[in-house]
């Protein structure tokens, strides 16, 4: 009897043990997470996964449960567009930031190192957007469903856009595509040499854009998704900078893609310049917006993008963010322009007939260019690089209100609904003008420029002649049109004015008058974190 019980016991225990060992194969039952294998061809899941690639450029992450996409000391600080704005603006004459946060001062004065958290964040986040896109592209490339085919092309566009900023800022990033897996491996640059690698990557990006051109949606098919016009604008921007990025000028190609945008007849300049920087600046309401990162007071929130620009440029005394529609946690008092930029933008000498700007003309009203949303603060000079934001030239171009001053749709007191512009129609005109000028057709260049200036002045009074068209004029015009839109550094580098001594501004290089800086600073370094983590990476020269 006892033996029987013993045997039964042994058999039973063996069964229990066996079934318990199977318990180890457990998968998540959390409704917020979806296992990779379960994504399938669900159209909703695909759209949501595509949405992530877009969102990764503008907001910090998934909100309270999923958290930020990257680990950093502050999610909002180190979003792609906000950190990119710092790299593109506060390193130039257009802006200087008063904050004491680590990494700000060395960007202000062009004395950054490879440890700078902002350049690290931009580098890592662009790489992350590429990685998200790679996964999506790999998962969807076999699909014949027309929607999925278009999603696939949009993901490739976003990857090409991320690589384009990489080309501009870092030159030679690690190169991965959908063929690479996920785990712990060491991606390689396309070539150890930055000049060769940069050219190879340039060619890859261009070939990608050519390949997807026909697969993308027609222009304006579904703002804010990337469409064919976005693709043309990105190609134009690549070709515009080809001389700097590859050593070979491609202005003829730039012109071709600007033509495609302009000749489509689908876009025009917004009658009111300010609309481009207002809550109704999106492509559904604004004929000028081609591609932008969408921001929305209730749906796409964060102290990022245009919210950051508005708040960081407001101080409560000279510029008051509540007047610009943001009443919560306002007036961060950080960014303002430097005097040299003001001079180039309003042509101070001509405007004021050689006299100093009258103290009473705080809004530079004597300048007839309606693009000047600037004002005098405590003083036009900035006494020290760490001076408070009360010094310098205030900029209030961006607003969280609609262009007519009314309250934005989906209004939120803390977050602007103003989209962050990436490609505007004005850029197509000015890129084409620059191409015409480089190709020797100044008459056509002046035609394009005058379209932009007629909108700026409200009439033809600001129009120029071919005699007035110089390289410097083109650079200044781009400044007037695109200031605070994260383009300045790229433009200064292309015109050879970013580091060398032909153009200096306050606190460039760390002195009041500004000094020459070394030309290796035209490219940012590969972040120290990356060099440590990836033995395949070659640092940029000079760092």
């Amino acid at each position: 009897m006892n033996k029987k019980i013993l045997i039964l016991g042994i058999v039973l225990s063996a069964l229990i043990v066996n079934s318990c060992v199977k318990d180890l194969n457990v998968v998540s039952k959390d409704p917020n997470t979806i296992l990779s294998g379960n994504l399938g061809d669900s159209a909703v899941y695909r759209a949501e996964a595509l949405g992530k690639i877009y969102a990764s450029f503008i907001i910090s992450g998934q909100g309270s449960i999923g958290g930020d996409d990257i680990a950093s000391s502050d999610g909002n600080f180190f979003t792609t567009t906000r950190a990119l704005w710092n790299l593109q603006e506060i390193t130039t004459d257009e802006a200087i930031c008063a904050w004491g946060d680590v990494g700000i001062a060395d960007l202000n004065t062009q004395t950054w190192s490879a440890q700078n958290p902002f350049l690290t964040a931009v580098y890592q986040r662009l790489g992350l957007s590429v990685t998200y896109a790679n996964l999506f592209i790999g998962q969807t490339k076999a699909s014949t469903d027309p929607t999925i085919v278009r999603y696939n092309a949009e993901a490739r566009f976003l990857r090409a856009l991320a690589y384009t900023w990489d080309l501009d800022l870092f030159g030679n990033p690690p190169f991965t595509t959908e063929a690479d897996g996920v785990g712990k491996f060491f991606p390689k640059q396309m070539d150890p040499s930055v000049t060769v690698g940069r050219t190879k990557l340039f060619n890859y990006v261009v070939s990608e854009l050519h390949a997807i051109e026909s697969k993308l949606g027609a222009p304006k098919f579904s703002y804010p998704e990337a469409d064919q016009a976005s693709c043309w604008m990105l190609l134009a921007r690549l070709y515009l900078n080809a001389q700097v990025w590859t050593g070979t000028a491609k202005f003829d190609s730039c012109k071709i893609y600007c033509d495609k945008v302009i000749n489509s007849g689908l876009y025009s300049l917004a009658p009111n310049y300010r609309q481009n920087f207002s809550a109704d600046n999106d492509g559904k309401h604004n004929p000028e917006m081609i591609f932008a990162w969408e921001q929305d007071g209730t749906n796409t929130e964060g102290y990022v993008g245009t919210t950051f620009i508005i708040e960081s440029s407001s101080d409560g005394t000279y510029i008051n963010a509540p007047d610009l529609g943001l009443t919560s946690n306002t007036n961060w008092n950080g960014n303002r322009a430097r005097l040299q930029f003001l001079n180039s933008a309003i042509d101070t000498l001509a405007t004021y007939g050689g006299s100093p700007i009258p103290a009473a003309d705080i809004y530079f009203s004597q300048c007839k260019d309606k693009r000047i949303y600037m004002r005098l603060k405590k003083s036009e000079n900035i006494p020290s690089p760490s001076s408070s934001g009360d010094y310098g030239i205030g900029v209030f171009k961006f607003t969280a209100k609609n262009s007519d001053g009314s309250q934005a749709a989906n209004y939120n007191t803390a977050y602007a609904s103003t989209d962050f512009p990436v490609f505007r129609y004005a850029d197509a005109l000015l890129m084409r003008a620059e191409s015409f000028h480089r190709l020797g057709d100044d008459a056509s260049a002046v035609n394009d420029i005058n379209v932009v200036r007629t909108r700026a002045y409200g009439n033809a009074s600001g129009n120029i002649t071919t005699a007035q068209l110089t390289d410097q004029f083109l650079l200044n015009e781009r400044g007037r049109e695109f200031y605070y839109e994260a383009q300045r550094r790229t433009d200064l580098v292309r015109f050879g004015k970013f580091t060398d001594g032909s153009y200096n501004w306050q606190w460039k290089g760390g002195t009041f008058a500004g000094v020459n800086t070394d030309k290796h600073l035209n490219l940012f370094p590969i972040p120290g974190d990356e060099v440590s983590a990836n033995p395949n990476i070659h640092q940029n020269p000079g760092y």
């Binding site: 997470t33 992530k52 004491g100 946060d101």
Partner: protein, 988 residues
Amino acid sequence: MKFEIVKMKAIWFFLFALLTLSVTAQERSISGKVTDATTNEGLIGVTVLIQGTYTGTVTDVDGKFSIKAAPGANLVFSFIGYQTQTVAVGQQTTLNVSLKTEVKGLDEVVVIGYGTVKKSDATGAVSTVSTKDFNNGVMTSAQDLIVGKSAGVVITTAGGAPGSGATIRIRGGSSLNASNDPLIIIDGVPLDNNNVAGSANFLSFVNPNDIETFTVLKDASSTAIYGSRASNGVILITTKSGKLGTPLKISYNGNASIGEAIKYVDVYSGDQVRQIAFSHPGLYSADSYTKLGSYNTNWQKEIFRPAFSHDHNLSLSGATKNLPYRVSIGFTDQNGILKNTEMQRFTGAVNLNPTLLDGTLKLNINAKGMNTNQNFSDQGAVGSAISMDPTQPVYDPSTLGQTKSAGYFQWSNYGANLGTANPLEQLMMDDNKSTVNRVVANIQADYKIPYITGLHANLNLATDNTHGTGHNNRPVTSPSVLTAPLNGQLDNYKGNNYNNLLDFYLNYVKELGQNHKIDATAGYSWQHFARNGNDYKRGIVDATHAYQKVDSTFFTTENYLVSFFGRVNYTFMNKYLLTATIRDDGSSRFAKGNKWGLFPSAAFAWKIKEESFLKNNSVISDLKLRLGYGVTGQQDIGNDYPAQANYIKSQAGSLYEIGGLYLPTLRPNAYDPNIKWESTTTYNGALDFGFLKDRITGSLDVYYRVTDNLLNTVTVPTGSNFSNTLLTNVGSLNNRGVELNLNLVPISKKDMNLTLGFNFTYNRTEVTKLLISNDPTYIGILYGSAFTGTNQVTRVGEAPYSFFVNKQVYNANGNPVEGLYVDLSGKGGTVSGNNADKYIYKNPTPNYLMGLSARFNYKKFDLSASARTNLGGYVYNGVASGASLDQMYQIGYWKNMPTSLSATNFVSRQFTSDYYVQNASFFKLDNVSAGYNFDNVCEHFKFRLSLTVQNALTITKYKGIDPEVPGGVDNNFYPRPRTFMLGVSINY
């Protein structure tokens, strides 16, 4: 029930009276001499008691005694340091007794993993702290009982909030990113260290009054039988139980206490703020002066209070026939020194140990229940009270009737939305309460298998269920900590933890001949942990708006552990002991191929005292050498599915528009498909010793511990994974240390005893590898925020979390020069805040720890104290580093600063200066307690009164309020109170 007790008391009294009567009738005089069995010398002061009575005498200078006793009586001879003897009187009138010295601890049984062992036969580093050594006056947090009591065990309380938890570290931490908490097992039930929502301390369900012993397993040879959860040590907690053959014993323990804040942060008064404001016209705009008030409010005084608490515990224990039992209930009401913070707790415990089937089946049934109600309020008030402008009043009559005030002064009524919250309003208006219920129950059956002598089967079934609910609501009159447009908030949450266990093992003990003994155990264990919870937040604008920012979150997660284990103890000639254990652990957390880990250990012990050359040595009373080696693992890595590829959906507010609709986005999460166990190898060498009849006992342990496959969150190569960092097995670190435990008995007399306990720990942790690649120039893992900059680093060759700061330059007067630091890189440019110019300066972990405890009793009076010293630890004083003149006026409001600012007069904050890394070595007198026993107040009643002071004294150079800062960065935590406690204990 009450009636029952009264009735039983009456019966007892009657029986006792009868007994006394009969004894008195026939007693006669007995005399004799008590001698030491080895020296034959007379022993002075031996207590001679008639068994079962309080009648007795004490031996004189020659060891002689005389007593009257009945012929049927037994005499009990007891003396400290000697084995107690009971002798039947019979017909004798002369009685000579020789007492044998007691080799203390020889037969003490120590709980180890899946079994017990005689202390003298233990081969690993095991230390036991039992009731008599516990810290006095502990009400809610079981961990606090053994603070400072065992070498190598560091317990840091989270702060002074009622019912708050503590971190326990045994021999430093063996991990960086994975858990460093030890495995805690209560009455055979391994606990889940995760707190359920609404609970501040996962150990609060055990009433400290129910605990009998803490056994700490420190080295791998003793912990490896717990395999993958053992790298940070194991703490086995045994609760009290009834004993076979004892009568009903009723005890009541109660105490009442009053706690108060020890020290406030020294901040400026209203007058001082006004003076600073007007003496720096260049710093503050003219407009700012209009915002200054005329008051002198001491905000810290406004938020703290003397806190009254009380605690009551009642237990009944004894045995009826074969059923020993113990039942206890407890109630605690602990008020925090911060206003509106409180914890109320009810506990109940039942323990039954019946023996069935002619003694072959022993059952051990335990059930513990807890109900806790906690009021957390908003402890951010501690920080606000330091920053809040003292020129403003607490209550603001001028804004009465305005929505955003509720009668309190609020900056938001004056246009400064970001202004410091009124600390008192924060505390009083926040409705932040939780209720947690927990039941832990298990049944352990030990069955002596027939036919095979020495074979036992042991089955343990356990369940642990916790349910927490709570809310954190803010009325619309209290917008202080909310982001506009919100003025109020509703937040309800729930959480559940489940933990079920099945353990089964066979134990076989066999003696082969005279010299060989084998004790073998083999078993199987299955444990399932599940956690889920939800949180439903709603923002309120005002009564006319719908809820805003509605955020509803839900999570559920689980994991399984399945294990096979075995142990063999082999004893040769009762001198040489060998232990070998093995555990094969399967964890559901890892992917196929990495699920199973094998963890072996071996230990050797040599009882040198048993050798002939020492056996009769009178100086050395005990000597044992222990050597151990073992491998343990770590699988508690904070995520139950780290190896699985999945997507996470975004919440409201983080959407993007696709196809004309705002959709949540799906993000692929970073994961490592090859993630696996951390494995820790420990070497331990030790000597246990006793001198002078064990008047001096102790142990000295030396250990070296290496963790490989260290889980570390590292920067991953861009493009290789779905984030910039990834938790993966890349690093190594080691711990080395020395531990000394000493127990001294300087005085051992009839009426007077003094026992001293001392422990010393030296531990050093060093990181030896951190990256996938090996870059010698790698700066390390940096910690800090965008605002304060990096101030801590974990780097190869250094202690984890070392401070990483700029080297301050001082002027001729020895004061720090603002913003001036040594350019350590020599590259010029911005030095302040630049990582290239920073250096590693100290770290938060103390190198040397000492614990000291003393117990003294004279007749019925006793006194005990325990103290600790930590040496070599540093703290970053975040309260002081956040202070600067330019921060005193913010956007539309004034802010107070600690007066330490007057020493630097910094205009801007200097977060990265080494000036703020301050020596946090300390000496703390944690606990002083005095008691008096009234034995004969009434027959059978023992009555004791005690007075305890907790947190009596701190000596330190540290400039903040308390040098004992969890994590090493001082940012205004709930201060630990000083508590005066009156305790009463009644035993029947």
